[in-house]
């Protein structure tokens, strides 16, 4: 039994309750009575992974099936990893405490590029070869899904198959297929061949990539008759009817988002040109207010959480947001549950909305103008105006008695000039002035504005996938311009993300198969938890780039022509390349594109789903 050996070490590590399972609502089954065991791995710490909604959905979905058992696995923090290695404790799953090496599937959800080295580290901790070709038939099938697999190429050496798009249906299809083939004693290769016939399954070893002399991709060719030339992502047609968990595993220790979460819509109507999620999760689909209220009640009751969040890419875009909020708030207020609404758009911020948010507890106010001037906001298609920002702040200060605002911006956006940077500071100064123009402001309270700047990272499947990332010198210059243009130093606080983190993000996001060697090398040199500042080692990454002959500029800082074949071009996320090119051209001209609800811009998704994105969901759910 691993349990005793694990317990003997737990008092030596930080936050030991993360490593022993037994949490409320975790699912324990009799392993002799299930056909397929799935180790669902989140390649980051428990605190981060347990906050992730997708994992909760798929965990419950799989466990609802009697013959499947899905368990949770997280990356042990460095203190426990060291003890595990010293004491020969392999990576294990939290429900059974069995080694994941014994499972049928090991599945990673990949939410951000900076967790790639953790995937390798977890496979290694499990006692498995990290490279797919070195894993034999008696070892688990290693699969991966999540937003980052829209460009899975840098991970193709390590993963047997990728799940492209939304997972609710395809995961079960894959496990059913496996259960059947396992009974018939099929080989891993036979399984992968059959799996590649399922829509949304990409088996990278069935494809060969060819390169031009200039290092760009010449083409991707399928080398197996079962593998389709183009792999199309899966989508759930009716979000209102799709499976949603009735309970969440409730952790003992505090996690990043320690609350019940109800997903209210998927996709986004906005089309902000930098935002990958806004394109890869299309089309926009929403749940009815009845469903949202029902799921809120159900989750609050089964978890005992004191906070529930209505989550999505843009919750204020819910068609009947006010009605839904009134109904949800009626319940949460009565039950002393705090209602949180992340992802609210400035232009949708209303007195009614603010009142609902404030009813139980006043949380901080955060807006994301993303750029400092109207010109640049038009370039990125953010579609909010300065008036809207000021109106929202006026409401917050004059009627909501808020005294602090957090503002998110990006530096290094395409076409950005120093004027755009100064615009950030000017906007913040105007908000400061607005605050002090309120005669009834809270006495003795000064305004506090936090400006948080991320470095823009161009991402696949966005109109900015062609764009280069700004160089370190450019970003440093921009940061200086911003700091110099802030006058109210006491009231306005400026912070930014580390450039060396953003550059790695850019390389990995837009990389190709040649980066597999780099990731392997970086991991071998000791890189892990790259998204954690205290553990990030850019010096080691630089060594890895050097050793594997990777030119960072080629991947991150090079403008890619419209006709270049992108490393991810054999994956179909329904959004057409023609549309991305069109949007990129419009960005260059500073022209905006209306949101999907106002006008269809012909991104290609409606063709993919066989009908218009809007006006369809209702009639469908009535059927």
């Amino acid at each position: 039994m691993l349990k005793d050996r694990i317990e003997a070490l737990l008092l030596k590590v930080k936050s030991p309750s993360r490593y022993i399972g037994g949490e409320l609502n975790s699912v324990v089954k009799d392993k002799s009575k299930v056909d397929v065991r799935f180790a669902f791995c989140f390649p980051d710490s428990y605190d981060v992974g347990m906050s992730h909604l997708g994992m909760k959905i798929l965990y419950s979905l799989k466990n609802k099936r009697k013959n499947f058992w899905c368990e949770r696995v997280f990356a042990p923090w460095v203190d426990f990893e060291q003890l595990m290695r010293e004491n020969d404790i392999p990576l294990y799953a939290l429900e059974s405490l069995d080694p994941v090496k014994e499972f049928d599937f090991i599945g990673f959800t990949i939410q951000y590029e900076l967790c790639y080295t953790n995937i390798l580290n977890m496979l290694d901790l499990a006692g498995l070869p990290v490279k797919a070709e070195e894993r034999t038939d008696d070892m688990p099938i290693v699969v991966a899904g999540g937003p980052c697999v829209c460009n899975p190429e840098p991970l193709t050496d390590f993963i047997d198959l990728f799940i492209i798009g939304e997972g609710e249906e395809v995961n079960l299809e894959l496990m059913d297929l496996y259960a059947d083939m396992k009974k018939r004693g099929c080989s891993k290769k036979e399984f992968l061949e059959a799996a590649s016939g399922i829509e949304g399954i990409y088996v990278p070893s069935f494809y060969d990539v060819y390169y031009n002399n200039d290092s760009t991709v010449r083409g991707v060719v399928s080398n197996n008759p079962n593998a389709p030339l183009i792999v199309r992502k899966r989508i759930i047609k009716d979000l209102d009817k799709v499976f949603y968990p009735e309970s969440f595993v409730v952790p003992y220790c505090e996690i990043v988002h320690d609350r019940a979460v109800v997903e209210v819509l998927r996709g986004c109507i906005r089309g902000c040109r930098f935002c990958q999620a806004g394109f890869i999760y299309r089309p926009f689909r929403e749940k009815s207010s009845d469903t949202i209220v029902k799921q809120t009640k159900c989750l609050c009751e089964s978890t005992g959480y004191e906070e529930v969040s209505l989550s999505s890419l843009s919750t204020s875009d819910l068609s009947d947001i006010n009605d839904t909020l009134t109904q949800v708030a009626e319940y949460t207020e009565k039950e002393n549950v705090n209602l949180s609404l992340p992802s609210m758009r400035i232009d949708k911020f209303s007195g009614e909305l603010m009142e609902q948010i404030q009813k139980v507890r006043k949380s901080g106010l955060t807006f994301a103008p993303e750029a400092g001037t109207q010109r640049l906001r038009d370039v990125i298609n953010k579609n909010i105006t300065e008036e809207e920002i000021m109106r929202a702040c006026r409401l917050a200060f004059f009627e909501g008695s808020y005294t602090s605002v957090k503002l998110y911006f990006m530096l290094g956006l395409p076409t950005e000039t120093d004027d755009d940077i100064c615009g950030i500071a000017e906007l913040a100064e105007k908000i400061v002035d607005l605050y002090y123009s309120n005669p009834n402001r809270p006495r003795g309270k000064h305004i506090k504005i936090s400006i948080s700047c991320a470095t823009f990272v161009p991402k696949p499947f966005t109109p900015f996938e062609f764009e280069p990332q700004a160089s370190e010198e450019e970003i440093k210059h921009k940061q200086k311009v911003l700091l110099d243009s802030v006058r109210s130093r006491k009231r306005i606080n400026v912070s930014w993300h580390k450039y060396q983190v953003s550059i790695l993000e850019a390389v990995l996001a837009k990389g190709d198969r040649r980066l597999c060697d780099t990731i392997y090398e970086a991991w071998r040199l000791g890189c892990k938890f790259d998204s954690w500042d205290e553990l990030y080692r850019y010096d080691l990454w630089q060594k890895a780039f050097e050793k594997t002959g990777v030119d960072v500029d080629f991947y991150a800082h090079r403008a890619r022509p419209y006709d270049e074949i992108m490393p991810w071009q054999h994956l179909d996320y329904l959004v057409s390349k023609e549309f991305l090119v069109r949007e990129n051209q419009k960005a260059r001209e500073g022209k905006t594109t209306p949101n999907c609800r106002e006008n269809c811009s012909g991104c290609g998704v409606s063709k993919g789903i066989g009908g218009a994105c809007f006006g369809k969901t209702k009639s469908q759910s009535e059927v």
């Binding site: 003997a8 008092l11 309750s17 505090e254 089964s302 039950e335």
Partner: protein, 221 residues
């Protein structure tokens, strides 16, 4: 609103010993919420379930008879309350009984522990080393003081060994230690003192708090 103060006696064992004190607070609040018993919320700007633990339990120590105070807004049958709560408790936490509190936090004076020491050294030898330690003039440990940082404290006068004898391969010690606001020595201080003195590398130490007592020796309740 009616408000009735209650005290629950509970057990914390198995995997639940790895729940820290702060996390236990949250865990209990959520269990109370799930049970839907008429629990009392504080009446501030940010209402939350009121909870008070008369004596915190160290991480890793099993609790056989721990206490937690909360309030309800309508009186109910204590056994029914206990049963509804137990239906919603996570693994390792179990309410034993519920009653109206008799003593206050400040009345807590001692706690009894059962500690099993395991090591490559025989249990008889562990026992003789323990006896030797207890016959020393002083048993000094580093203790954190609020004002002076780490200071050397002699804990010998505070260690009250009830029994110590071999139990299989382990050395089993029943010990009463001061607990509460005035003087608090948790089981870890004692086991560390023994480890330091004996230089034994223990493979496992299983500590259980079996009872909490008042300063005058009566059972806390």
């Amino acid at each position: 609103m009616e408000k009735l103060n209650l005290r629950a006696r509970f057990e914390k064992s198995g995997r639940a010993v790895f729940i820290s004190h702060l996390d236990l607070m949250r865990t209990m609040q959520r269990a109370l919420k799930r049970s839907r018993i008429p629990v009392w919320y504080t009446e501030g700007f940010n209402p939350h379930i009121y909870l008070n633990f008369p004596l915190a339990l160290s991480l890793g120590v099993t609790g056989r008879s721990e206490y937690m105070d909360f309030s309800v807004t309508e009186s109910a049958d204590f056994e029914t309350l206990r049963d509804s709560l137990n239906k919603k408790m996570p693994e390792g936490l179990r309410i034993l009984d519920i009653f109206e509190p008799v003593y206050e936090n400040k009345d807590v004076g001692f706690a009894d522990y059962k500690i099993d020491f395991y090591s490559g050294v025989g249990s008889k030898e562990m026992l003789s080393i323990l006896e030797k330690m207890l016959s020393e003039d002083k048993i000094e440990v580093d203790k954190r003081s609020k004002s002076k940082g780490m200071v050397k404290t002699d804990i010998k006068p505070h260690i009250n060994i009830i029994s110590a004898e071999p139990s299989g391969v382990a050395l089993r010690v029943f010990v009463r230690l001061p607990a509460g606001l005035k003087m608090n020595i948790n089981a870890g201080v004692f086991t560390e003192a023994f480890a330091d003195y004996s230089k034994i590398k223990f493979t496992k130490i299983c500590a259980e708090r079996t009872k909490i007592l008042c300063s005058d020796g009566r059972d806390f309740k």
